[in-house]
Symmetry: none
Subunit: 207 residues, 4 copies
Amino acid sequence: MPKVSADHLAARRRQILDAAGRCFARDGFHATSVHDIVRESGISAGLVYRYFTGKDDMIVAIVSEWHEQRRAVMEASTVDFDDLADAYLGLLRSIGDPSARDGLRLGVQVWAEAVRSPRIGDLTRAGIDGPRGSLAARVRSAQRNGEAPADLDPDALVRVFIAIYQGLVLQTVLDDGLDREAFVRTVESMLDAVIRRPPPSAGDGDR
Amino acid sequence: MPKVSADHLAARRRQILDAAGRCFARDGFHATSVHDIVRESGISAGLVYRYFTGKDDMIVAIVSEWHEQRRAVMEASTVDFDDLADAYLGLLRSIGDPSARDGLRLGVQVWAEAVRSPRIGDLTRAGIDGPRGSLAARVRSAQRNGEAPADLDPDALVRVFIAIYQGLVLQTVLDDGLDREAFVRTVESMLDAVIRRPPPSAGDGDR
Amino acid sequence: MPKVSADHLAARRRQILDAAGRCFARDGFHATSVHDIVRESGISAGLVYRYFTGKDDMIVAIVSEWHEQRRAVMEASTVDFDDLADAYLGLLRSIGDPSARDGLRLGVQVWAEAVRSPRIGDLTRAGIDGPRGSLAARVRSAQRNGEAPADLDPDALVRVFIAIYQGLVLQTVLDDGLDREAFVRTVESMLDAVIRRPPPSAGDGDR
Amino acid sequence: MPKVSADHLAARRRQILDAAGRCFARDGFHATSVHDIVRESGISAGLVYRYFTGKDDMIVAIVSEWHEQRRAVMEASTVDFDDLADAYLGLLRSIGDPSARDGLRLGVQVWAEAVRSPRIGDLTRAGIDGPRGSLAARVRSAQRNGEAPADLDPDALVRVFIAIYQGLVLQTVLDDGLDREAFVRTVESMLDAVIRRPPPSAGDGDR
DNA sequence: GATGAATGAGATTTCATTCAT
DNA sequence: CATGAATGAAATCTCATTCAT
């Protein structure tokens, strides 16, 4: 009785999503045909529609999963490193990982789709707001502990560093000539200057 | 001899490109049909093909023009303001201009297309490299003049500020809740800390 | 030796045919998918094909059964009532029975399919010819007994009353506003006038 | 400037509708594919969708037109003949016209679709109610003039004769062996008996 | 020059049916 | 026996592009 195992079903779904992810990363959502995904996955056209109600459903699944992965990476980073700045720099460095390539390309497509589709826009806002909120909370906590200057606007600060992350993703994907390490070192010096900066006054140190 | 004045031809072309720009900004390149552009422009389908060889040609024209406009804005900024940092901050602030909305949305679509199409990728790299190079040159010149710390990597620094620009465009377009002024102020404080920062100690005393 | 009782097999077949009948009555033969029947019956797709060679086979079975049921009702009517006209009027009245609804709707679909499919056409002609023939025989017998005017064409007469039956089925199914009782009374008065009509003039009979 | 003439557009639409009518008459609405209509009409697939929003739209157009044609025939009949009964008998006889074949077959498909589709059901009820109402009005007027017995229910009477019409259409289309002339003569004798029946008075004997 | 009717390849999705489990 | 996952052909509809007028 081939009510096949849940594992099998999950594996099939994965097979389709992986193929879709590759196709979408390569060509974007609207220049990829369902047939492209069928070909890439090695699965028949009909079967795809037992796992997804349609192409839009696949896009939603891919986008959700993409944000979930980013969130997981973020979380892992901030657990591994106890210093938030180090965690962030690690995150930037991980962008260079060749295995991340497809994920980056997909991310750019996700942003483009988020701009035009309310549905994907909502998913994307939700996917960014979560990490953004928890980062801001950590900045606020660092401010309370005196580890960060009290005059910084935590929300804006986090947004700026997210922007740097987004821009780096974009430049990585667009431009092979990018010297990522120099980029990260520059960001590091900015972090040092802004967050770990010495108390503003002169001669404070000797007291 | 042309049967119609060059002005007329240019105006027609403009009419089509404006319509295409609006459509592409709204829906991206591949979810916009030529018929959408025909409808938006009020020009007949056949005529569109006398001004462009096809949809790809329109995309190329729109992308080229988009980069040209960015370059022009950049140039204008750095002429208006004699201080580079002020010019940059002005550029960031101009992102909030409601009249820029379509341009921002289009930019996100351009990036997404640049990732998948070699042709658009080349255009985009060229479009970014120009401004990037001239900015880096100006940073180097500032370093020579002692207006900026000599230990900064000019190329990386420019890339970081371009990344911030790109990220702000993205966040502006995705998220209505963004407090752009706080964002820019935070960037300003970073610029102050990194570029306009006081020479590292010694010599402070003279104030 | 069968692994499963004949009863079981028959019950399964019934289960499928009942579901198919409901689906076909609701949506016609070609707007009903096999999957619809699978869903409605609660039986798996694979199993359906062990009872029927395909969708066409189900259609044939449903149509045969439908004609068989009509024939049975006809037969029952003419047994219950010893007067043929009363039997017919009872038949017309039974059309209003709410439990007959699906059967009527199915009938209309059968007629439509009979028109386009030679196979179903043959089945339908056979299904109608039987009752038609036996009704005509009874009319002829009534004529011989002097219970019906001799100048009537028995075949045509029967066809007319079948037509009235068919038209009433159609109108019942199409039009909720139909006053069926008035319809049947009118038919009754026609029957009286045509079949039970008084000998054309007094004293004619004895010549 | 090929904003082609209105005549041309109308002719194209006709070309498609004629092809669709033939296909639908032959195979019903749901066993006819759009491609069948494309092939039958000799028009390209894309063009069909400039004249109709989709297959459903073609079905609606065909059904509307079918009812309109019936109505026109009805009207013509009752103008040509000043006696309503003669007009009706002429209508029945016209069913045998070989050129009417497709129309009859289409009618059966229309009835089947009217049963399952609310949209077509509404169209069909509207298409029948018009002629039905005007026939009933004429019967009532005949009753006032003493040309028809006052004890008949005009609405029910009309419904019965519509049923006869419908049944004859069905039998004509299903059964080549039908002796239509005998059928019509029988209906005629019924009309005579019911409508033109002699006043039930005494004094018949003198004939 | 300008139009928009016309094309047919290709997109998405559904269907009847089979077969491994 | 029974299941429902799997198939791939076919259905409906859209698209970029051409060309007669």
